[in-house]
């Protein structure tokens, strides 16, 4: 027996109520089913900038590969992963097929829906996430992974952005929703693929498209690691902030730490609990010399021009390899300021810190062989 919404096969989740079998794993998801309208005619892409040669090559490869197998787009942070799938979106829509984008985080869904509305002027794009569930008919949907249950077997192609991000990663229910929503091919966009994905690539169940270079062509900022006791780290971070120019993002492992350091140095802090999260982010984005203390809430999905990054207590288990790669990826994203500074302060050099450094060094080394499907 398999649940049609979440793909559950475990007997312990099934119950019989009034003679009907229900799946108690996804019973709480009670919303209406969406309606995808087929597109007819050509789809034009409007981009305010030109794609680099590497991006164009990768775009083509992704589309061709997605016709045959699932695709893993393994692109470094800031490589323009979303732009890489524009061609696939356009061609799939032109073929009157259905395609959707799913992302774990609500904020990214709303941002991406705006970007796609601008990029595909003739297409009705709709964001579906918590608080935005009234309109359920469109041609192109951008949804949170929690809302994928509204699309049972509806997508010929489903693009899953950041499958290694919380809350999607490790959540069987959300993975089930994604699996059941897609009747065709999946495209995974990530900078930090997990072992399972790499295993599938090795088994040739999935095609890997690698993009190791950012559009501006500069190498990725590699973190410098400094080991020191905690209170010395605080002095070092204070000195680093005073010395460094541009926007400074200071990552800390816990909300308590964020509040403590913010009080100590009178800087602003944000965490998932901040009610005015977006306002603080906007304020930081507008202040060219601002300092912001944050938890992993800002590790991905945000871009600040001329941002420099420091991680306090980088050895903390919260900062795994993928998380640190993403954090380092916040620096040097803009073509105007392609060089960024990344500093990891830690009690000791953890495996995650070293692995993160190795990944970034390897990506820079491989950059000359970019786009090797």
């Amino acid at each position: 027996m398999e649940c049609m919404r979440c793909g559950n096969r475990s007997k312990r989740y099934f119950a019989v109520y009034q003679g009907k079998t229900v799946c108690r794993r996804c019973i709480g998801f009670t919303g209406d089913i969406a309606d995808i309208q087929a597109n007819s005619g050509e789809v034009s892409i409007h981009l305010p900038f030109r794609l680099s040669e590497t991006q164009r090559k990768a775009s083509k490869t992704i589309y061709q590969a997605s016709l045959l197998k699932d695709v893993l787009v393994n692109a470094v942070c800031g490589a323009g992963k979303t732009e890489l799938v524009y061609e696939t979106i356009a061609k799939t829509l032109e073929a009157s097929k259905t395609i959707g984008l799913a992302i774990a985080r609500k904020q990214v869904v709303l941002q991406l829906a705006k970007r796609l509305t601008g990029a595909f002027p003739g297409i009705r794009v709709q964001a579906i996430c918590e608080g935005h569930t009234n309109i359920l008919d469109a041609q192109l949907f951008v949804v949170t992974t929690h809302q994928l249950y509204r699309f049972p077997r509806m997508f010929d192609c489903l693009i899953l952005d950041e499958p290694d991000a919380f809350p999607y990663v490790g959540d069987e229910l959300l993975e089930g929703f994604a699996r059941m929503a897609c009747r065709g091919r999946m495209i995974y966009l990530t900078a930090t693929p997990d072992r399972e994905m790499l295993r599938r690539v090795k088994k040739q169940e999935m095609v890997e498209v690698m993009v190791n270079v950012r559009p501006h062509g500069y190498p990725l900022p590699v973190p410098s690691i400094r080991c020191a006791p905690y209170f010395i780290q605080l002095i070092l971070v204070k000195r680093w902030v005073e010395k460094t120019k541009g926007r400074k993002l200071v990552f800390v492992p816990t909300i308590r730490q964020a509040v403590f350091i913010a009080r100590l140095f009178k800087w602003k802090q944000v965490s998932a609990k901040s009610k005015d999260l977006q306002e603080k982010i906007d304020e930081f984005a507008n202040n060219e010399d601002g300092v912001l203390i944050c938890t992993t809430v800002l590790e991905r999905g945000v871009t600040f021009e001329n941002a420099q990054v420091c991680v306090v207590m980088a050895q903390h288990p919260v900062f795994n390899e993928a998380s640190l790669v993403q954090i380092a990826g916040r620096a040097g994203r803009s073509p105007r300021y392609p060089k960024g500074e990344v500093l990891f302060l830690c009690g000791y050099k953890s495996r995650s810190c070293l692995n993160c450094m190795n990944i970034l060094l390897r990506s820079n080394k491989d950059a000359s062989f970019a786009s090797t499907p």
Binding site: Y17, Q18, R24, I27, G28, T30
Partner: protein, 204 residues
């Protein structure tokens, strides 16, 4: 809580979730009514009730009176339970009676004498509109409650309008009236000084 409650009934909630529920288990003053409440209606309770009532997860029905089922019967021994009604449309949609499932194995006599005429959901109405509910409740069979000790039972009390309306209909016909709910809005618990003392003196 009795020996049977603790050792012989199985909880459908894990221990961690059970501990996160905020117990009240006392008489609370709700707009002049004494209401016995078991839990505070916080976020966790709201999630559980949403899953139970809106997602129709019947298995959760057992958790609300666990582990005080036997104690509930003992405390309100001799009373006849009347449940605050849901609309017909809602009942048909759910396919089960939410309050009856919560009461589960309770041995107290139950009678369904109240009917809700409107299909509109109370939680979607404004506070002023909620008071209108007194015109939408009907005592269908007063004979069944006449001269009896009645226990008026509801799951959630947020403004107390539904319970007050039902209480108004029943009061004239019954010998005594006791109000019991599973979860109560925290705003009623804040004014505990007056309400609680007054209620405890006259309570069961």
């Amino acid at each position: 809580m009795t020996f049977i409650d603790v050792f012989l009934t199985e909880d459908v909630l894990c221990k961690v979730c059970r501990r996160s529920l905020k117990k009240v288990e006392r008489w609370v003053d709700v707009n002049g009514m004494k209401v016995y409440a078991y839990y505070e209606f916080d976020e966790m309770m709201s999630t559980l009730f949403h899953r139970y009532k809106e997602a129709h997860d019947q298995a959760l029905g057992k958790l609300f009176l666990h582990p005080v089922h036997a104690a509930f019967d003992k405390k309100f021994k001799g009373k006849t339970i009347v449940c605050v009604p849901s609309s017909k449309k809602k009942r048909e949609q759910r396919g089960f009676m939410t309050l009856h499932t919560i009461l589960g194995e309770s041995r107290l006599v139950r009678v369904d004498v109240l009917e809700k005429l409107s299909d509109e959901k109370q939680s979607l109405r404004s506070a002023a509109m909620r008071r209108e509910i007194q015109h939408e409740m009907l005592l269908a069979n007063p004979m069944l409650v006449e001269g009896k000790d009645i226990l008026l039972f509801d799951d959630i009390v947020t403004t107390g309008s539904s319970m007050l309306a039902c209480s108004g209909l029943l009061r004239e016909n019954t010998r005594s009236l006791t109000h019991v709910c599973i979860a109560i809005h925290p705003s009623f618990l804040k004014i505990k000084g007056k309400g609680r003392d007054k209620a405890t003196k006259t309570g069961d």
